[in-house]
Symmetry: C2
Subunit: 326 residues, 2 copies
């Protein structure tokens, strides 16, 4: 499929992913690639699970956040970085800032789970709470960034974030060699477009597939229509993919490098979560189950193929996890 929307000037290339990998070396965890004969028997494929649930702070988001902060000029580092997120990007930024000695401020809704607020503070970030019903977080973030001279680092639509996330696929393919298909979860498209850069460079001819929750198929709609489609915040247990629209940088890359975008239901996510816990002994958050659920439920034919699956994260509180898998 040819790009209709042109690539932005900021669009990174595989060289940026390589650069991110060298910055992340010895800092991010080189997470294990796991296999499951049960999963292979069930699908007829040979599946390689890249387990980013074992990444530092529990998700791939650490990769992009660290690379983005590490890439700031010294002066910007001294003034600090700012993000708005109630999810893994917040914790990734907080931990990266702590490791790099860069002050990080996170805007979080004041009704965010106390555990997430504490975890973010635990990594040394300043957390500013806002009322998401009364305040516009983006305006607030811009105002704070401007007042304090801090650099706003968005969760996905940023060239360094995207290049950093791509190192997950880079490591996977370095370990497995060429694959036929690579399934990646899709929210705003940082992980998907970054991984696609690495995948095409290391495994020519690979089909890279984005996987969204059924309720939040803006990516698929955008992919098919050729323009960014914006939806209301989708109701899904895949809280890391509750984005309303793809980004200006990620969308053209996805149009160029991704073969298809498919969706899975919340029930399929729960079933994949149970499979991971029961058969592979791993805790995977709902969003982290998106790519596997698409493979397990044969959204596309995978039999006889060598298939990569990015398991993106494991940050689910134990009470929710227990409720979902029991």
């Amino acid at each position: 499929m040819n790009a209709i929307t042109p690539l932005t000037a900021a669009a990174p290339t595989f060289a940026d992913v390589r650069r991110a990998a060298s910055v992340l070396e010895g800092v991010a965890r080189r997470t294990p690639v796991m296999t499951s004969r049960t999963a292979d028997a069930r699908t007829g494929a040979t599946i390689f699970f890249k387990c980013e649930n074992f990444q530092r702070m529990g998700a791939f988001k650490f990769r992009g956040a660290y690379f983005a902060i590490a890439s700031l000029p010294a002066e910007a580092k001294a003034r600090g970085a700012l993000a708005f997120s109630s999810g893994n990007h917040a914790q990734g930024m907080a931990l990266a800032g702590q490791l790099l000695g860069v002050p990080v401020t996170i805007l979080m809704p004041k009704d965010a789970p106390a555990a997430k607020i504490e975890a973010t503070r635990g990594y040394g970030a300043e957390v500013i709470l806002f009322d998401r019903y009364a305040q516009d977080r983006e305006a607030l973030a811009r105002q704070l960034a401007s007042e304090r001279g801090m650099t706003l680092i968005p969760p996905f639509d940023h060239p360094d974030i995207l290049a950093g996330q791509g190192t997950a696929a880079l490591e996977l393919l370095e370990e497995t060699g060429p694959l036929d298909m690579l399934f990646v979860c899709l929210g705003g498209g940082g992980l998907l477009s970054g991984c696609a850069l690495a995948a095409h460079a290391l495994s020519p001819g690979i089909a890279v597939i984005g996987v969204e929750p059924e309720a939040g198929d803006d990516g698929r709609q955008s992919f098919l229509s050729g323009q960014i489609v914006r939806i209301g915040v989708p109701k899904t247990i895949a809280d890391g993919a509750q984005t309303a629209a793809l980004g200006e940088i990620t969308f053209p890359l996805i149009r160029r490098d991704v073969a298809d975008i498919v969706t899975v239901s919340d029930a399929e996510l729960v079933e994949a979560m149970r499979f991971f816990a029961e058969r592979m002994k791993m805790v995977v958050e709902p969003t982290g189950c998106l790519s596997a659920a698409a493979v397990f439920n044969a959204r596309l034919p995978v039999a006889g193929k060598r298939v990569g699956v990015i398991v993106s994260g494991g940050n689910v509180d134990l009470a929710s996890f227990a409720r979902l898998v029991a």
Copy 2:
């Protein structure tokens, strides 16, 4: 501590562990060694978790079972192997038999969880159910073995089982280099004595520590008294360590090679299980938490030390897991 009970003629040596490793190469999974900065910060130690919950069929037991069956003479292989177990040894034997083309029969109590019976049958073993209140399983096993000419493979007190289990520590130490301490869960002592053989060979001066459930401290009692102490079946959630006594082969090795045996409570096991799920994104069964619980709760001083922890298995049904961690 010098051995009071002499080693049996059957006692294996490190050469047997090496031999087991070569037989298991490409068959058993080389499980990942995981680390946790949170665990290190909490204990002051540098901890290396050898994650046998990711082993084939979910526990280290596959190692010993496969090596024991693979080591049978051709004639004995043709007649098959037999075991009595309602736990991981049953599934390890069943899977090993399937892979080696050796018929395996497992005696299981008829009130064993249906899921375990199905899993064992799923690996191709014949399951014979008995009434554990009316029948003596050992007598029944001997009778069946004699009638059918099958070889009875006990769960721990067997030189090949012990040598096979020792490959877990061999792999760990090959990856980490020398350690100061190694914590290993203790039921009948197959894993502990096998790992101790490997540990002393690869890391001279290492202190190998056995960890039992409080309710089942027969190993500690035996260790201190110098003779095998037999207790009633202990009431503990660590169902893989509900053994009544150490073995004739394992006990003298433990006396010779183990520095200390400590115990942990069921509450400490649950707390470790929660830690593994929440912070390390792993499902670990209660027995698999024994060694970590001893380290987390400072049963012995570990600060400043390089510490190995064998995480022995992950076979806990999801309903129990959910109830325990929620």
